[in-house]
Structure formats: C-alpha cells, structure tokens
C-alpha cells in the first residue's frame, strides 16, 4: 500500500512538472512570436520635453578600482542637463583605490558627491536606502559599477516618468566582453533573449517587465513610501518590481536604453552570480506570491505572468527533482506512464523552448539584433543548461532554507575582469 502511494505521488509529480514546463514553453513561445511579428509598443524615448525631472544617479561600489573610472567618466559626460542632475557613487567598505578615484571625480565635477560607507552593514540595499533619504532627485537612476552608460541614456530612462503610472524603468544590458571566451559569448546570447525578446514582449503585452537594478530607475518617493529596500533580500530589484506592481505602479522596459556591462569570464564567478540571483529571486517569491494574487491593481493575466516570473528560478530545482523521480519510477518498473515519451519530449522542449528557450527567444533575438553567425553557438547552451540546472537549483534550495530558518544571506559582489 505504501509503495502504491509512493508511486502515485511520484507519477503525480511528473505530471505536474510536465504541466508547468508546458506552461513556460507556451509563454516563451508567445513572447518570441510577439516580439518577432507582433505589434511593438512604443517606448517614451522619442518624447522631447524641456521639463525633465531632477535625477539622482546612484552607483554602488565595493572594491571597484578596476571599473570605477570608466563608469564615472561615462556618467559624468552625460548630455542630461547638469542643473537637473546629481551623481552619488556609494563607496561601500572598499579596501582598494575606489575612494581615491571617486574623490578625483568629485573635484572635477560639481554634481558628483561620493557617499562613503565604512561603518554598518555592507550591501547595495543598505547603501541605497541611506542615499535615498537625502537625495534631491525625484527619480533615482542606478548603474552598477561595471556599466558604461552612453551619453543619452539618463534622458532616455528619465523621460518615461512623465507617465504618471510608471514606477520603474529598466534598460537593456549588453555584455561588452563578448569576445573573451565561450562563457561570455553564451551570456551575450542569454542577455539577447532575455531583453530583446522576453522583456520587450512583456512590455508589448502589458504584462510584467522586471526592473533589474543595474541600468534603470525608479521614483524615489514611491520607493521610500514602500519601505525602501529590504537588506535581507539580495535581489532588491526584484523585490521593488513586485512591490510596485502590487501597489498599482507599472514597470516599463526601454529597449533603446542600451548599456554595456561586464559579463563574468569564469564559470566559477558565474556560478556564484547565478546562485545569488536564484536565491534572491526565490526569496522574493515567498514574500510577494500572495501579494500578487491578492492585489486589486492587477489584471488576471498580469497576476499569472507575475507568478510565472516569480517562480522561474524554481524550475531548475523542479526539473532536477523530476530527473530523480523519473529514475526512481524507472527502477521501480513503474515508468509506464503513457506520458513517458511525452515527458521526455516536454523536458527536451523545455530545455529548448522553455526557460533557456534557445531556438525561440535567443535565436529570434540574435536575428533582430542583426547577428547571424553567433546563432551557431545556440547548441552550446546545452552545457550552460546543465550548469544552471545545478547552480540555480542550489540557489533555490538556499532560499527555501533562508525562509524556513529566517536566515539573512551575506551580500556578495561579482568579481571584475577588466584590465587596469
């Protein structure tokens, strides 16, 4: 009897997993079709308006001597009106030459005012909460330290806040070190799929584009009213996204607001990064799930997409468990589900068309960007799929442990690879 119950549970797990994978497959297929041939929604970058909002640009930094000068040089040379702009790089417990670099820029430019944190807890959310209290800007724009913002990007991001419903804006991230190795090439392809297709399609369809926290902005007062950033959550951008949606604000995606970033160049660094992202995202899942369902500001389709977005970093863990479940069923001789081949097809289709979605989202994105030869690298995503299956599952698992035991994860920064 116990065996029968166990087998039933295992089979039910396989069927539920298949249904979930199928849902994501359909979702990403729709996104790819919409982005490729559907009507594209205008973003606000074409609006020419003399009355631009006052903006505070924040650049969190911890031991960023390799990249600080490049990002500060780019931000300082923006074409945004200087009388409506202040730049606050946050020097957060650095032990290298970051502070001296910031001081040089502070002397050179009147509107650059470094904020030094050498006491208290370290971390991006904590630093941003402190800066938001005294910043003068109505709009906060955040760049990560390794980013290279073009001249016009601050205006392109700030202009969207003329729309009274916009709470946050996210731009497009483009790796600058694509040619370094196979990993950076694969990350470039992933970014293409994620931004050019996924984010843009969600914007077109009035679903739930996400604020990513690295090249984007939000309304300062709204963020303060929502309680600021939670220091115990390592993906403060995801938390802000869902808080905004729950309170009736919108997040828009600016495909034209492109910014170079530095992608990790070693698999080890990438593993830490993606584990951190998965952990933080899953933390937000536990905090925001019921809020999304209960929110009166969201349409049903927005709720569904929001929940699918919230759950996305659990999928590798579900698949990993599913592999073991299917093995167990096989050795128990109970893998005679009519869906056995069906499951295989679904798993294969998911790894092709679902979360990784190489042949739909990434392939479409590469073509839209005008690239062709890099599409040849799509099969190489099989390696990163296996890689992510483990490390994202690890991050999701850690998030479950964090939630059960109310553990606060330690803030980590991504290692930089730029040459001095």
């Amino acid at each position: 009897m116990g065996m029968v119950i166990l087998v039933s549970i295992l089979r039910a797990y396989i069927l539920v997993m298949a249904a979930i994978l199928f849902t994501y497959t359909v979702r990403h297929f729709i996104f790819s079709i919409n982005r490729s041939v559907g009507e594209q929604k205008l973003y606000y970058q074409d609006i020419l308006d003399s009355d631009l909002p006052y903006v505070t640009v924040i650049v969190p930094m911890h031991n960023e001597e390799l990249v600080a000068e490049h990002s500060m040089e780019n931000i300082a040379n923006t074409n945004y009106p200087k009388d409506r702009l202040e730049i606050i790089p946050i020097e957060d417990h650095s032990e290298d030459a970051t502070l001296s670099i910031l001081e040089q820029y502070s002397e050179k430019y009147d509107n650059i005012h470094p904020y030094v944190r050498d006491t208290g807890a370290r971390g991006k959310p904590v630093g941003m909460n402190e800066v938001m209290e005294f910043a003068h800007g109505d709009i906060i724009i955040v760049f990560d330290a390794d980013y290279l913002p073009p001249k016009g990007i601050i205006r392109d991001i700030a202009i969207s806040f003329l729309d009274p419903e916009v709470g946050a804006v996210m731009g497009r991230v483009i790796p600058s070190n694509v040619s370094s190795n196979l990993l950076t090439k694969l990350l470039d392809i992933e970014r293409t799929g994620g931004y050019q297709i996924d984010q843009q399609a969600r914007y077109n369809l009035n679903l739930v584009p996400q604020y990513g926290g690295t090249v984007g902005g939000f309304r300062r007062q709204v963020a303060l009213d929502l309680g600021g950033f939670n220091p115990s959550i390592i993906t403060e951008d995801t938390e802000l996204t869902f808080k905004l949606y729950q309170q009736g604000w919108k997040v828009v995606y600016a495909n034209r607001a492109e910014c170079y970033e530095e992608a990790p160049e070693t698999w080890h660094v990438r593993s830490r990064q993606v584990t951190r992202w998965a952990r933080g995202h899953c933390q937000v899942f536990f905090k925001a799930f019921f809020g999304m369902i209960k929110s009166n500001y969201l349409k049903p389709i927005e709720k569904i997409d929001g929940i699918l977005l919230l759950s996305i970093y659990f999928i590798p863990l579900i698949m990993l468990v599913g592999l073991f479940v299917s093995l167990a069923l096989f050795f128990l001789g109970k893998m005679n589900l009519f869906t056995s081949v069906f499951i295989f097809i679904l798993v294969a289709s998911y790894s092709s068309f679902g979360n990784a979605a190489p042949f739909f989202q990434m392939g479409s994105g590469i073509l839209l960007d005008g690239g062709h030869m890099r599409a040849r690298l799509l099969p190489m995503l099989l390696f990163s799929f296996t890689f992510y299956l483990w490390f994202i599952s690890k991050g999701a698992f850690l998030a479950i442990i964090d939630t059960i035991f109310k553990r606060v994860p330690e803030w980590q920064k991504t290692q930089r690879f730029r040459k001095k």
Binding site: I47, S50, G152, P164, Q247, M373
Partner: protein, 465 residues
C-alpha cells in the same frame, strides 16, 4: 587554428567524440567484413543489383537476430546526430566571425535636427578641399559622395544631377525641378511647384511651394513655409517657425512652433507678434471668466456617487488613489462632466470622454481611446494606449503620446513658447487648421494636415480600435 587554450580544449573534446564515432563505424565494418565470406546470404544474392552495407546490415539482423549490428549502426548515428549541431558552433568559435558586442552608439543623444546638423557639419568641414572643378568629396550615410559647389543662381543647370549640391547664395528653384541628391543652400531657398528633392538644408528661410516632395528630410536654420499638398518625407525641422498648409504629409516635424495655417498667402508671411499676445490672454480669461454653466469640482473630497456620468456602475472603492497625486478611474466608459476641474493626475482604465470646459491640473493616462471635447485645458501630459482625439480650441501644456493615433482639432495649442513639447502617435497624426505645436511631432505611420477630424470618417477611426 585558434591559439586560445580554452578553445583548444573544446576542440579536443570534439575530436575525441569523433574518434569514438569513427571507432564504432570501423567496428561495424570489421564485423561485417569478417562475416561476409561465410554469409550464405551473399552467395544467394549474386543476382541482387545492390549489395551495399545497408542491405547487408539488415539482412544479417533478420537472419541471425544479431542486434550487435543494430547497436553498431544506431549508436554512431546517435553520436552523429548529437555532435552535428556543435560543428557550426565550433567553427564559429574558431573563426570568430561574429564575436563583437552589439554596437551601442555611446555618443547618441536625442536631436530632432540630427540630419541637418550632421549634413552641414560634414560639408563645412570638407568644403575647404574643393578642387579646380569646384567639387569635393564627403562621406554621407557610409557612401562617398561628390559635392559640387556652385552659384545658387545657376541651380537650374543641376537638375537630375547625381551629385550633392552646395549652393552659394539665395536659391530660387523653378517649377518641376528634380534633384536626386541632397542640396545645401547658404542663404534663402524657394522651391517652386512640383519640385522633388531628396534632402535640403537652407541656412535661411526655406519656402516650399505646393505639390512639392521632399523624399528624405528638409531643414532650415530659420523658418520653413510649406504650401498645400506637399510631402515632407521623413523629417522636416527648423529652428524657428514651421508653417504647413492643408493636405501635407509628414512623419516628423520640429519647429517653434509648428503651425498649420491654411492660407496660401499667409504661409509665405511671418506670423505677427500681436496675434501671439491674443492667444496668451485667451488662456487667462478662459480660466477665470464666468460661464453660464455650473462648474462641477472633481476632487477627492467629493462624493463619487454624486458625480454624474462617471461610469454608470462604478463604486466608490473602485476610485483608488495610488499616490497622493493620482486618481484611478475604472470600469465602463468614463466621462468627465462639463466644466470639471481636476487637480490631480488621472488614470482611466477604459475609454474616456472629457467634456467641454474641463480644466485638468495634471496628467491624463487612458488605457482606451481618449476623446476630448472642445475648450479643454490640460496642464500636464496626455498618454493613451489607444487613440487620442483632441477637440477644437483646446490648450495642452504638456506632451501628447499615443500608442494609436492622434487627432488634433482646430485652433488647439500644445506646449508653450520657449519649451519643447512633443506629439507622438504611433499609427498616425491628423492636424486640423490653426493647430500650434511648440516642439516635436512624430508618427511611425503617416501624418497629415486635414480640413477637419470629422472628415476622416469612421473607417480610419475603426482602424485605430
């Protein structure tokens, strides 16, 4: 061969896989060869025309039920299928034909007069290189072009020419002229009827007579006056006033202001200063003047149920405030009553109609079609997910942005002198007479100056739905 050690490792792995594949194939061949000599099947099939390995293979299976051959065939086939997709990837890793980051223009900034300034800067930077034939070379749009320098008085001699023209003096381009390349004029330019130009920049006033066509762009450092039934190409921009007559087509306009003046004579004359002062005083008197109609206050303190026509079935709790400065209106078709005064931003989740005389101190965002009656004032921006129809004699102080179409009624003014504001309609823009826009106008579809919005007809309105 790549010198990158990481790629060399990857290549070695692929070679190893090929080695395994090849080994399996050899194994299958050896097995077949060893058995060939004693295989009665071969003796019996001397008459068979084709005795290839595939025939042998299946024959052996049928006869001996020996599935080693099946495995020896299927396994290599599987390896081929598995490895084949990686071959182009390995080629790309080695050859690196597409391994540069996506190009991002780091110096890009929004400039409605980009074409004009870029064109002029390139010409003026290279004009000093003029040769004895009074020509010089410059790169435009990635192509090297020959620029001929000539007296503007002789411009008629250069029609149908294949070179860019640099005209010194006032250019008076006669009727039915056609220029296949761009034209730069150092002084005033006048295009007579039926002129076709690819692109033109005039340092002084640019006057375009009726029925003319600009294929790409037209620009002026002073004023532009456009006669009726002209096509203004992709962009028409100037530093001062841009006057446009009836039935003109456009995609992008920029001027201070853009003014639809349906008077052929007036197009060729400057707007006078007295007329400007009248417009300003009208605004002040409209707000403060007494009217015969009762002004209904639409603010947070009012009982929502007492307001008429705000959606027949709306309930109080559906009017949600997402911030201290914003009201959200839901359900049904929302109509803002006559002569309302709203002191907040307003977000309307469906179609909306704003009755005449309404004054809104804030921004409007509408998820459906937004229609405004005559004499509405909005001291803010207007956003709509569908079309925006602005009535006559309206005053909009901010931007107008629509994912659908924009229709602007007669005598409506958008923006204010000294500031740039924008009108953007994804599908199309229609401007009636005496519309004044201070700044920028853009549509992906087509823009047109029309006699009235009503004359468009229901078909075009339905296309927006």
């Amino acid at each position: 061969m790549a010198k990158n050690p990481k790629i060399q490792k990857e290549i070695i792995i692929c070679l190893f896989l090929f080695f395994c594949l090849f080994s399996c194939f050899l194994l299958a061949q050896d097995t077949r060869t060893a058995d060939n000599e004693t295989n009665p099947l071969y003796e019996a099939q001397d008459e068979v025309l084709y005795k290839g390995p595939i025939h042998d293979f299946f024959a052996r299976i049928d006869e001996r039920k020996d599935y080693r051959y099946l495995l020896a065939f299927i396994f290599p086939l599987f390896l081929i299928m598995a490895v084949l997709p990686f071959l182009p990837a390995i080629l790309e890793l080695v050859r690196k034909k597409d391994d540069q980051p996506l190009y991002v223009n780091m110096d890009y900034s929004k400039d409605p007069r980009y074409f004009d300034h870029s064109f002029r800067d390139k010409l003026l930077a290279n004009v000093k290189n003029v040769d004895q034939d009074r020509a010089f070379r410059v790169t435009l749009s990635k192509n090297e072009e020959v620029v001929e320098v000539c007296n503007a008085a002789n411009v008629d001699d250069y029609k149908f020419g294949k070179n860019v023209l640099f005209l010194e003096g006032n250019a008076d381009i006669t009727t039915n002229m056609k220029f296949l390349k761009e034209v730069y004029v150092t002084c005033t330019t006048k295009l007579h009827e039926n002129t076709i130009l690819r692109g033109i920049l005039s340092e002084n006033d640019l006057k375009i007579a009726p029925h003319s066509t600009i294929v790409r762009w037209a620009g002026s450092e002073a004023n532009i006056f456009v006669g009726y039934d002209c096509n203004l190409g992709v962009r028409c921009s100037c530093e001062k006033e841009l006057w446009i007559d009836l039935d003109c087509q456009f995609k992008s306009l920029y001027g201070h202001p853009i003014f639809t003046h349906y008077d052929e004579n007036a197009v060729l004359m400057k707007i006078n200063e007295d007329q400007k002062d009248e417009i300003e005083s009208e605004k002040d008197s409209f707000i403060t003047k007494e009217t015969n109609l009762t002004r209904i206050e639409f603010d947070e303190s009012s009982d929502p149920l007492a307001r008429q026509n705000i959606g027949e079935e709306e309930k109080e709790d559906e009017l949600r405030t997402i911030s201290d400065s914003c009201i959200v209106v839901r359900k049904g078709e929302s109509t803002i009553p006559l002569n309302s005064k709203i002191d907040k931003d307003i977000i309307i989740k469906t179609d909306a109609f704003i009755n005449r005389g309404t004054l809104i101190h804030g921004t409007i965002k509408c998820y459906g079609t937004l229609e405004m009656d005559d004499n509405v004032t909005v001291e803010g921006n207007i956003f709509a997910e569908k079309s925006i129809k602005i009535g006559a004699n309206c005053r909009i102080w901010g931007d107008v942005f629509s994912q659908g179409s924009v229709y602007i009624g007669a005598n409506t003014e958008i923006g204010s002198a000294g500031k740039d504001k924008s009108v953007i309609g994804k599908h199309k823009i229609r401007l009636c007479r005496n519309v004044k826009i201070h700044g920028y106008l853009l549509t992906e579809g087509g823009g047109k100056t029309v006699m009235s919005i009503g004359s468009i007809g229901k078909k075009e309105e339905k296309e927006d739905e």
